[in-house]
Symmetry: C2
C-alpha cells in the first residue's frame, strides 16, 4: 500500500511507496529496486519464468507463445485497492491513498534484443498493447491520466535488463503535465492554434533539428531541449491523445521509433535513456490545444544543485549540433 501527500509549496502530490524499497535503510544503500539477474536464466520476464510475475493482465499470443505480456508491477508505486479520498492529519497536512495502476509491459520474449533492433511488426504489437492498456485503464473513473514510460540502462533507473515499458495511472494529473496543458491552453486561447503543431511547423521550416520523418510522424530535437540529445516524436496531423492513434498508423510509428532509437544507439554507443509519452488528462482526448508526443531523454549528464534548486536546465549540446551529429553517425538499415 502506498500513500500520496500534498506538497503545499509546489501544489503537487508526492507518492510514498515504502514497499518499493526492498530492504530497510540499515546502511547507506537505499536500494529501491531488486537487483538485476545475472543472466536470462533467473529473469522473471523470460518465457518459462511466467510464475515469477504477478498474474498476467494481458498478452498477445501466437500459436500459444506470448509475444507481448502485461503484468502488474511487483513493487507498485500505486495500487487499485487504495482510496483516493482526500484526508487531513491533526496538523492539517493533506494526504490520500496511493490509488492507481502500475503495470509492466514486456516488450518481447527476447531477453537481450534492443527495441530498435526488433522487427517493425513486434514494435507494432507493443505499441498496440500500450494503447489497449491505456484505453482499458481510462474506464476506471478514479484515474485521471496515464503516464507511459520506458527506462533503458542502469543510469536511467532500470531494475531489470529484459526490455520492458511501464504504465502508471495516477488519481491526479501530475503537476508538470498540468503546467504543459495550461501553457498549451493559453496559447490556444490566444492564437486558435495548437502550440505543438505550430512548433512542429516551425521546426520543419527551420529544418536544422529534424532527425527523421515519414508519412505520419516527425522526429526532431526541440529548440529548447532540456538535456543533450533530447528527441521528440510527434504525429504530423493534430491528435491530442495516444489513445486515438489509428490502427493503420502504428507501422509508421513503429518505424520512426525504431529509427530514432537506432540512431541514438549507434551514435552514442547504447546510451541509457528514459522515454515518456506526454498526453492529455481524462476527457480532453478530442481537444485542439495539445498534441501527444514521445520524449526520449538520453541520460548523458547528471543534474546537480542548480537544476534541482531552480528547476532550470543547463544543456551542454545545442540541439542542431546534436541532430547533425546523429544524422552523420552511420545510420543502420532498418529491418522490418
Amino acid at each position: 500500500m502506498s500513500v500520496m501527500r500534498f506538497d503545499e509549496t509546489t501544489s503537487d502530490w508526492v507518492v510514498f511507496a515504502p514497499s518499493r524499497r526492498l530492504r530497510p535503510h540499515a546502511d547507506a544503500s537505499l536500494q529501491t529496486q531488486p537487483s538485476e539477474p545475472a543472466s536470462a536464466a533467473g529473469c522473471p520476464f523470460c518465457p518459462g519464468n511466467e510464475a515469477f510475475t504477478p498474474p498476467e493482465i494481458y498478452a498477445v499470443r501466437d500459436s500459444g507463445a506470448w509475444r507481448v505480456r502485461v503484468v502488474p508491477n511487483r513493487f507498485p508505486a500505486l495500487t487499485i485497492e487504495d482510496n483516493p479520498q482526500r484526508r487531513h492529519d491533526d496538523q492539517a497536512f493533506q494526504f490520500m491513498g496511493g490509488c492507481g495502476a502500475h503495470e509492466v509491459i514486456i516488450e518481447s520474449p527476447d531477453h537481450s534484443l534492443f527495441l530498435g533492433q526488433q522487427p517493425t511488426e513486434q514494435v507494432v504489437l507493443l505499441l498496440r498493447t500500450l494503447q489497449l492498456r491505456y484505453r482499458n485503464l481510462m474506464r476506471d473513473g478514479r484515474f485521471q491520466t496515464v503516464v507511459i514510460f520506458k527506462n533503458h540502462g542502469a543510469e536511467a533507473g532500470t531494475s531489470l535488463a529484459h526490455p520492458h515499458w511501464q504504465l502508471l495511472a495516477p488519481p491526479v494529473v501530475p503537476r508538470l503535465l498540468r503546467m504543459k496543458h495550461f501553457e498549451a491552453s493559453e496559447y490556444y486561447d490566444r492564437t486558435g492554434q495548437c502550440l505543438y503543431c505550430d512548433m512542429l511547423h516551425r521546426e520543419l521550416d527551420a529544418n536544422v533539428r529534424i532527425l527523421t520523418q515519414n508519412e505520419h510522424y516527425v522526429a526532431f530535437l526541440p529548440f529548447a531541449s532540456h538535456t543533450p540529445f533530447e528527441t521528440w516524436i510527434v504525429p504530423r496531423q493534430h491528435q491530442a491523445s495516444f489513445q486515438l492513434v489509428a490502427m493503420e498508423h502504428f507501422t509508421c510509428l513503429a518505424a520512426i521509433l525504431k529509427s530514432v532509437l537506432l540512431k541514438l544507439h549507434t551514435a552514442l554507443g547504447n546510451p541509457a535513456f528514459n522515454l515518456t509519452i506526454d498526453d492529455v488528462p481524462r476527457g480532453d482526448e478530442g481537444k485542439e490545444y495539445f498534441l501527444w508526443h514521445m520524449r526520449i531523454l538520453p541520460r548523458l549528464t547528471t543534474p546537480a544543485g542548480f537544476e534541482l534548486g531552480s528547476g532550470m536546465s543547463i544543456n551542454t549540446v545545442l540541439p542542431e549540433d546534436a541532430a547533425r551529429f546523429l544524422s552523420e553517425a552511420s545510420s543502420v538499415e532498418e529491418v522490418g
Copy 2:
C-alpha cells in the same frame, strides 16, 4: 559564451553552455566537467595552486593565508558579458544571451575536510561570504535572483573533490522558484500568513519530523518530502531572504548546518547530496509571503521515466521514518 532559449511548452528558459563540455561528443561519453584530480597535488582549489583558477573575486584572509576564496567558475553556465535582450530567430523561436554570474566559493583551504567536520567558526566565514557575494551581485540590475548551491559526491554532479559551493545569478527567475513564489503568494493573499512559517509551526506541533533545532533555526524533513531524507533548514522567525540573515545569527545557522550534515553523514555513510537555498526574486526581500530555506537532497535513488515524464516524485521513505532513523543513528559531537 552561452545562450538561453525559451521553452514555450513549459514557459521556462534553458541555459545552453557548450563550453561546459570540454571535449566534443565524438564518442558516447559526453563529459560535462573536468575529471577530478587524483590527489590534492593537482587540485586548483588547494593553497599554492591559486594560479590555476581564474582571477580571485574575493577572499577572507587571516595573516596572509586565505580561509575562504571566491573565483569565477572556469566553465561558466552564464557570463556577465552576455546580453539578456530577448531576440527571435527566423522561425520566431525566442532566445537571449546567457547573461549572469557563476561563481565558486571554496569552503576552506582543506582539500578533504567535510563541511560538517569544519569548526563552526569556519562555517560562519563561509556563510558570511555567501551572503556577501549574494548582496554584491544583486547590485547588478540584470540579475533577477541568486541560486546558491553545493554538490557533494560524484552522484550529485560534483566535478572537483575539494569542498566548494557555487552561486548562479540568472537574468530571469527560474520557473520552479516562480511557482513556489506564486503558491506562497496565493496562500498569503488567502490567509494573511507566510505558508512556510505556517508549515514550520505545524511541523513543530506534530513533532515527528523535526531533526534538530536551536535558538534561531529549525531542521526538519518536510511532510511531502520529494526524495528520501530530504531535509530543510529554516529560520524560526520570518525572513524572506538569506540576504537578511543578521550577523549575530550566523553562529546558530552554522551550528545547525553542521549538525544536519553530520547526522546525514553518520547515518547514511557519507551520501552524495545537493544543497540549495530557495530565496525570493529581486525586490521581494522585505515581503511577508516567503521564507528562505535550505534544502538538502541526498542522492540515494535515481529518478526514472515516470518522474521525468510527469514531474511527480516517488519517495520510498516516509520522512517521519527517516527523521527517526537519523535521530537514532549515533550523533557525533559538534566541535566548535
